[in-house]
Symmetry: D2
Subunit: 129 residues, 4 copies
Amino acid sequence: MTHTRIIPIEFCHCDPAGIVFYPRYAEMVNHMVETFFLDVVGHGFGPMMAAGQGMPTVALEMAFRKPSRLGDRVEWTLAVEHLGRTSARFLVRAEDRVEARATVVWMARDFTPSPWPDDIRTILEAHHA
Amino acid sequence: MTHTRIIPIEFCHCDPAGIVFYPRYAEMVNHMVETFFLDVVGHGFGPMMAAGQGMPTVALEMAFRKPSRLGDRVEWTLAVEHLGRTSARFLVRAEDRVEARATVVWMARDFTPSPWPDDIRTILEAHHA
Amino acid sequence: MTHTRIIPIEFCHCDPAGIVFYPRYAEMVNHMVETFFLDVVGHGFGPMMAAGQGMPTVALEMAFRKPSRLGDRVEWTLAVEHLGRTSARFLVRAEDRVEARATVVWMARDFTPSPWPDDIRTILEAHHA
Amino acid sequence: MTHTRIIPIEFCHCDPAGIVFYPRYAEMVNHMVETFFLDVVGHGFGPMMAAGQGMPTVALEMAFRKPSRLGDRVEWTLAVEHLGRTSARFLVRAEDRVEARATVVWMARDFTPSPWPDDIRTILEAHHA
């Protein structure tokens, strides 16, 4: 299974060249991970933080292959590319424009890497690419 | 006295028209208030938050008179336009380009408006326009 | 008629106090104006710019009455509060949290204020509050 | 030689966990490349764009090793890690917190990869790590 979202390219994303400024893509990658946890995994970042849990991003790789322009409606997808005991690497793509990999670590209350809870692991496995 | 900073206009500030996107000006206004408290008042936002204090912005008015372009080095100034018992309104200007007014409220530990501490009030008074 | 959008509050909007950082509200106000022109008026900012037209925001007022927190789903509305010959002031609201007024000026090809085209004026009038 | 800048961590950079939100690091990487070209190479992005030139970022890798907090003053450095005929990979570091690699391509007027002009190449070579 793949988590999918359409992101319309708006004024706030674009640089003086009229194309998406690449740090805005990093925000979109985070949006994909955040909506995946909120809408699919069922663990929103708000309740996570309130529970003293966290899921820091420890690495991000992005390749920018084709530009996106103001008004484009870009389809983003997220899949789990690698699932570790306490971490996961997401493959996040925007069509043939952007290919990103974001690695996160699950941290339970003591702010050290912790094994994924079973319910989360099950959903991550179902989205393994 | 007036608090002054030069902000160089960079790629991240500019929109597809090649001029500063106005929400970036709101960030610059916040930068002026934040650096004023850090460098002049001597109360950085970090220690403030660690002490359970806060200073929310409750109103912002901005007039955009002339555009700023990539590469411009813009001089910003901040002065206290109105000083209340628990609040202050800052006049924040970017030359003849932007005129902004930001109103903040001082909140001590209980998250209700509180009178300015004497040391802060003294400095705010010294910057009254 | 009123233009409405739900904006979910995400990590990227929030500050260390866990509430929306006010410059992000300025981006949301722009989002409301931009989606109104794209989806309701039928003049997206992309084609506008390609046609050498523009619609700069010349003033923005915002009052922040109640905070929004990570995970909140906030209903935003936009209506035309004042319609001038070459300008319009939009009243943009986020429930009882934010009340904003954004004034824009219509500029045809020569980058001077120009009367609203008839088709746009008709739609603006239909959204007069 | 290494290009160096101090970036104070401000409210606008931090997330609800009180640490820098990683897309803001991507903006800081761009800031390092942009100030390097403006202040060291002597080719600001403004004149570049006015001349119809461009230097898109085609890849970005970032490892986030230690968090940065509100109020930290972080030293960033930039060096040229790899210099190609038409491209360069910059190693951009924030102490022991962030290690980033950004790859850019030089594009002359026809928007195709072009060999670095001699004056720019000389400076890039002088900053080879």
